[in-house]
């Protein structure tokens, strides 16, 4: 399994200036093409030969993919908008603070200056067996190297294990699911709009990809509806270091309160499964209940029902429970 590291493989580079031109290019090259957003996930994968595209389609020159627009009380965020721009945007901060905080918790300042929202939600898993070029299920093989008696799996999944135990590492993904965002996906066949919750795939549906994006698809924008504008938000990310690290567990909460009662809530944790995990059962249980310690305890216990920790990640069960309790209790 010799993998050449540290040097970039060669590829042909295309720099279209419109979405239509980009779609024509990825349509023409099919599976041999890879989309280049900010590049932080891509260059890593290229240097480790996890992906070996013949053609790279750089979206950096496409103006229509940039920027944040106000649309009917909500926002439409171009997929190439940087995380730094989202984190400091006044409306994101005042109306959709959970997204501002999530974007501000990604990587490091330089990474946020370059990394994009589209790239952050569409990035691949960080499972180091997969990222080191092992021929695991996700890479088209027939075993999982992270789920063996001697495997190092401290960062892996505790929910929905299905052969692959890798997790989705995105910080903005749970925030977008909590905000009930819509993902705008274009291909040469037209445009489709998918709820953020349905944008991500678990291994039970497709073990080789993390999102619904197929060859020829391009995520062009993310629409944040007005539904949760100004709600009570919370975002927490637990990681080993304050900078650079991906989440061990993160949690995004949107809550509407009146007279101390939880009227409506969306609660999403990530880095515990291959896709952001929306806690429907917890949401249903706490709706209509007061925001107190008893409700928090109930929520915490419900949140970890069905957890199947691996050898080295049992701590994620307690962490998830405590984060959910804290989100409810405030």
């Amino acid at each position: 399994m010799a993998v050449i590291r540290g040097s970039m493989p060669s590829f042909e580079l295309f720099q279209p200036t419109s979405v239509d031109a980009a779609l024509a290019l990825i349509g023409r090259h099919g599976a041999a093409a890879r989309i280049l957003g900010g590049g932080l996930d891509t260059f890593d994968a290229l240097q480790d030969r996890v992906v070996q595209p013949a053609a790279l389609v750089d979206l950096g020159g496409i103006a229509e993919l940039q920027g944040i627009r106000e649309v009917g009380g909500g926002l439409e965020i171009g997929a190439m908008t940087t995380l730094a721009e989202i984190a400091r945007h006044p409306i994101v901060q005042s109306q959709f603070a959970v997204l501002a905080r999530a974007a501000g918790a990604v990587g490091s300042p330089q990474i946020r200056n370059q990394g994009t929202l589209g790239g952050n939600v569409s990035q691949s898993t960080r499972c180091w067996y997969y990222r080191s070029g092992w021929t695991c299920y996700r890479a088209g093989g027939n075993s999982c190297f992270a789920d063996t008696p001697t495997a190092v799996n401290r960062e892996h999944a505790i929910f929905d294990l299905d052969r692959c135990v890798a997790v989705n590492p995105s910080d903005t993904a749970p925030a977008l699911v909590a905000l009930d965002a819509q993902m705008v996906v274009r291909s040469s066949r037209g445009e489709r709009v998918v709820a953020a919750e349905d944008y991500f795939l678990g291994p039970d549906i497709d073990i080789t990809r993390m999102t619904i994006l197929d060859a020829g698809d391009l995520l062009t924008a993310i629409r944040v509806p007005a539904t949760w504008a100004g709600a009570h938000f919370q975002f927490e990310k637990v990681r080993d270091r304050k900078v650079w690290d991906f989440p061990l567990v993160n949690i995004a909460t949107a809550m509407k309160m009146s007279n101390g009662i939880i009227r409506d809530i969306r609660l999403v944790v990530n880095a515990v499964a291959a896709r952001p995990r929306r806690l429907h059962e917890v949401e249903n249980a706490v709706r209509g209940k007061p925001r107190d310690a008893a409700t928090a305890t109930l929520a915490g216990e419900l949140a970890i029902k069905g957890a199947q920790p691996l050898r080295h990640n049992t701590y994620k069960v307690a962490l998830t429970r405590n984060l959910v309790q804290r989100a409810i209790r405030g």
Partner: protein, 198 residues
């Protein structure tokens, strides 16, 4: 005596030979001077570095850090991890700090690139952040210094009078292997003060 630096600069002066030889082992025809595929980027490009237009011949897969060091002789930009994980290659692109190891040279064709070499004034007067690093003896081995200084210059453009905590967060994307963070922060805080006064 030939110093390491003059040797590197000499090798860069022999540019064409070096650039051809170092890419010969690559298997793509694109790197061997063939015409690009229809619609693909041209290898020849003009980069705006420190206010000067520099013409270079760059393979598609080359990152800005390597172009700056190996083709333009700007070895002040250091390469540590090549993985967006250490910050020593930090440069400003349109006044915003980026890891130049994780930027394709071809994607910054029309942008303004600033490296540590461009900070001092043409008369030789150091930039306030450089001067503060010297005055406060902010660095030990200094390998991370160009990255820290560029990150600070970029951060101070967005927040000219930060608190120590804000500055620490602003330049958190840079590592120092000597663990000299406290002195670096002190130096960079005094840099902010110098910059405000000048």
């Amino acid at each position: 005596m030939v110093s390491r630096r003059s040797f590197i600069k000499g090798a860069i002066a022999g540019g064409a030979t070096v650039s051809a030889a170092s890419y010969l082992f690559r298997n793509s025809g694109a790197a061997l001077g063939q015409a690009p595929a229809p619609g693909a980027a041209e290898r020849l490009l003009a980069l705006n570095v420190n206010g000067q237009l520099r013409h270079v011949d760059v393979p598609k897969e080359e990152t800005l850090a390597l172009t700056l060091r190996n083709r333009l002789g700007l070895t002040g930009t250091k390469v540590g991890c090549q993985r967006a994980e250490c910050g020593s290659c930090t440069v400003l692109i349109d006044a915003v700090p980026h890891y130049s190891c994780s930027v394709l040279t071809h994607s910054v064709r029309s942008r303004q690139i600033a490296t540590i070499e461009g900070l001092a004034s043409p008369t030789g007067a150091l930039h306030p952040v450089q001067q503060a690093a010297i005055d406060q003896q902010g660095f030990q081995c200094g390998f991370c210094a160009p990255g820290f200084i560029m990150a600070t210059v970029g951060f101070l453009k967005t927040n000219p009078s930060p608190t120590r905590d804000e500055l620490a967060e602003g330049i958190a994307g840079n590592l120092c292997r000597c663990q000299d963070y406290d002195k670096i922060l002190t130096a960079m805080m005094s840099a902010a003060e110098h910059a405000r006064r000048s």
